[in-house]
């Protein structure tokens, strides 16, 4: 009994501390967003190069700490995953909670191709993306008319069905036993077989994902997508074909999740259906929502924070998931628009809490309507 009250006390204490922390961090995020939106192009480029250099040198600094390297690789992997969901949820505004299905498809395609057919990873990677994209199309078309909660439920269903297929189609997937022995990738005789090499491989994939996300967002298609997300009726009245863009978002999002899955398979050397359960989808969703729906820097930050926090909380394992949960709830209450929201990065931060409520909607604005 005494034990229980102590646990409760600790949780309340953690809540209070987190509450204060988020309040303070919230101010910090506003400050950062305001700074980012105020700096000119040249400074921005300078900062980007600085970050790129840091990220490039990072694994060399920690070369003798495999734990840091592994965690860094996982962070980068989740950045690809979160950015892939961001195309669907953040750009097109489609609440998809079955995203780990595409991740699974990418992983299994790579596993099957490299293990059963000894096909090179360099062919398996784009093939995984392509097949995941195909499934994105397959899910995107019938769900076009669904919005908000209904779409969410349907995509959850899709994720679960896929997982059940992976478990039960034992001839192909070996069922719950999974597929072991996925080989190291090899390019022109150069083997990617150390954490350092894997780090650079996933870093290239992250760069590619960020590149495509930015270019897409700043193109006519990106503006169309955001328009559909903000107000589908107005978008259509402006000549924007929303059905096409929604499907495009599903296909692209699935393709990048497939790429992440492909990397996962070759890095862990083993896939099984449990890697891609519902909780995985929820985790990716949390990264996007917490970071700031639609905002690329926000989503990167969200993926980083939510991958590192459980690692950092390893020492207080009992409280790990409780604190994780409390953090999510508090964030939604205090800062529903996410850490670095899209609007705040455009200089809307100063009036973040005033004026039109429609603007900083975060996940709230995505359901129904």
């Amino acid at each position: 009994m005494a034990n229980l009250s102590r646990v409760l006390f600790n949780l309340v204490l953690a809540t209070a501390i987190l509450f204060g922390l988020i309040k303070i961090l919230s101010k910090a995020f506003d400050f950062v967003a305001r700074y980012i939106s105020s700096i000119d192009k040249k400074t921005k480029r300078f900062i980007n190069i600085g970050i790129a250099l840091m990220v490039a040198i990072w694994p060399i600094v920690f070369i003798n700490q495999p734990y840091v390297l592994r965690t860094s690789i996982i962070v980068l992997l989740y950045i690809v995953l979160a950015l892939s969901l961001n195309i669907v949820l953040g750009f097109a505004g489609q609440l998809s909670i079955g995203h780990s299905a595409f991740y699974a498809i990418g992983a299994y395609v790579t596993a099957l191709l490299t293990v059963n057919f000894q096909i090179s990873f360099w062919i398996a990677l784009p093939t995984s993306a392509l097949i995941a994209a195909l499934f994105g199309l397959l899910l995107g078309i019938p769900t076009l008319r669904l919005k908000g909660d209904y779409l969410a439920i349907t995509t959850i269903g899709f994720g679960e069905i896929l997982r059940l297929v992976l478990i039960n189609w034992t001839n192909l997937t070996r069922g719950p036993a999974g597929i072991p022995g996925i080989p190291f990738p090899k390019i022109f005789g150069f083997m990617i077989n150390t954490n350092l090499r894997y780090y650079y491989l996933i870093l290239v994939l992250v760069m590619f994902t960020i590149f495509v996300s930015y270019r897409l967002l700043n193109s006519r298609l990106g503006r169309g997508l955001i328009a559909v997300r903000d107000d589908e009726i107005a978008a259509e009245a402006m000549g924007i074909k929303s059905t096409y863009l929604k499907i495009l978002a599903f296909v692209l999002g699935a393709a990048f999740a497939g790429i992440a899955g492909s990397f996962f398979a070759t890095y862990i050397h083993y896939v099984n259906p449990d890697n891609f359960n519902y909780m995985e989808s929820v985790l990716i969703l949390c990264m996007v929502v917490l970071g700031g729906v639609g905002s690329i820097p926000g989503v990167i930050l969200g993926a980083t924070v939510l991958t590192i926090i459980p690692e950092a909380l390893r020492d207080i394992a009992t409280y790990r998931y409780a604190i994780y949960g409390i953090l999510l709830i508090l964030m939604m209450i205090i800062r529903p628009q996410g850490m670095l929201s899209m609007a705040s990065l455009k200089g809307g931060a100063k009036s973040e809490n005033s004026g039109n409520k429609k603007r900083n909607k975060g996940l709230r604005g995505l359901s129904g309507s």
Binding site: R220, A234, M238, G355
Partner: protein, 255 residues
Amino acid sequence: MRILETKNVTKAFGGLVAVNDVDFHIEEGEIVSLIGPNGAGKTTFFNLITGIYEPTKGEIKFLDQFLKKSKPYEITKLGIGRTFQNIRLFSSMTVLENVMAGQYCRTKADLFSAIFKLPNARKEEDRVMEKSLEILDFLDLKKIKDEIAVSLPYGYQRRVEIARALATEPKLLLLDEPAAGMNTGEKKEMQGIIRKIRDKGFTILVIEHDMKLVMGISDRIVVLDYGNKIAEGLPQEIQHNERVIEAYLGKGGAA
């Protein structure tokens, strides 16, 4: 030239006939006002023209084309732009981005050329930017182009909506209560803007309640009441039309 024509257009919501058997037309270069009490069916009429609703009966012809089963985005592409009574700006976009989004249907770069900024996409982007800035300049919005559109005062938001509609490069512009919620000074300004747009060669159909504004800008006025067209004519004619006065003031008021 007759740019838009409707014949017997009817829209029923269940038992409620919101638009009833309306014959209507607008000539190129005209400013026509659509007036009528609240609930008369004016907005519904706009929604029928722009394909948001499909008529229960009747037909709509734009230029030489019947708009049967056309989707809203197809109709916009044909050349009908609109604003909304309850402002519907894109809430996460700046003023400039809102207007650039309006140019979507006049561009065609595909995914690949957009992402790798191939020459055609680059050229197109430059054109979109140039055109959008030109429209913002035309409507005196250039100095607020980087503000989040929905954080602006009401009057500006209405103007941004007009800018966005102009960006779709319409032949016919539909304005749904562009001066609603504005004070006298702003209304006067809006009147100037509507004139200015017409002088650029656009044809304009406007829903408006403010009689002074309506009388000031209209070449012709069409009056709806309970979904029926009850009058049509020059501003002076409408001003003294008994059925119109009755519709606005009720039977007792007309006497």
